[in-house]
């Protein structure tokens, strides 16, 4: 395989094209996917700390509730909700639904609105619980 340098045409890379609403959303799906892959390590660390005992868990909690921890968690939640909402959009496409340009743009805008609403909603609940507790 390595000896073969295929002469078949390949599609141009991202930098060739002018960024469009749809193409930006498409590459963001991959970028958020990669970010979330790294983000899962936070979940793993948190679970392992909880299994280790109260002391390790407390350490993880204070790390996560520091401003840098909260900033990371905020980015994590934003990436998660984007990937989740846009992933559902992809599932509809896989079923052959909503593939015309008009619908693609409409669902794209809806994904952005849903992402922002879910993220803001999550953090409002988080901080109101903190205030109550």
């Amino acid at each position: 395989m390595m000896l073969m340098k295929s002469k078949r045409p390949i599609s141009p890379h991202l930098q060739i094209y002018k960024p469009q609403f749809t193409s930006v959303m498409s590459i963001l799906h991959r970028i958020t996917g990669i970010v979330l892959s790294i983000g899962t390590l936070v979940l793993v660390y948190w679970l392992m700390a909880a299994a280790e005992g109260p002391q390790a868990y407390q350490q993880a909690q204070s790390l996560l509730s520091s401003w840098i921890g909260l900033l990371l968690l905020f980015g994590w939640s934003l990436a998660l909700f984007y990937h989740l909402c846009n992933g559902i959009r992809h599932l509809f496409w896989d079923a052959g639904l909503g593939m015309d340009i008009k619908t693609v743009y409409a669902t794209g805008k809806f994904v952005w609105i849903a992402t922002l609403v879910l993220t803001v909603f999550t953090w409002i609940i988080a901080f109101s619980m903190k205030g109550a507790g």
Partner: protein
């Protein structure tokens, strides 16, 4: 059949391998399963990140359905993660040696942290 193809090209691994649909379907199935699982996780984590102490978290994980959902989430999440990262590596890493090394390391790493996470949940759930 494409008449432009020589009979050597399928041997060299060009074109359709006539497989891969199962991977396509498995990625979508894991995506569907993750929608409720992740919404459940976020709803739970908000509570535990903001106020619960260690004892409350342990008691919560020990509830049987929470143990089950957590382990399910970990397995499906890391399956989906590995499938996504594999796609990214396949698409963007063109050097065959670097691709092979990064693919193998990625898979080994994802499997290792999957086991570590399930183990952490079981240690809490079984109380050892």
């Amino acid at each position: 059949m494409n008449l432009m193809r020589t009979s050597l090209s399928p041997v060299r691994g060009l074109g359709s391998a006539r497989e891969g649909a199962d991977r396509f379907i498995a990625q979508r199935l894991s995506a569907i399963a993750l929608v409720p699982l992740l919404l459940w996780l976020v709803a739970s984590i908000i509570f535990f990140i903001t106020q619960a102490d260690h004892a409350t978290l342990v008691a919560w994980i020990r509830l049987h359905w929470n143990t089950e959902l957590l382990i399910l989430l970990i397995l499906v999440l890391f399956y989906h993660t590995h499938a996504g990262l594999q796609e990214v590596l396949e698409d963007y890493v063109h050097n065959q040696i670097i691709k092979a090394i990064s693919m193998v390391s990625m898979k080994f790493f994802v499997i290792a942290i999957t086991v570590a996470s399930v183990l952490a949940v079981l240690r809490i759930a079984l109380g050892t």
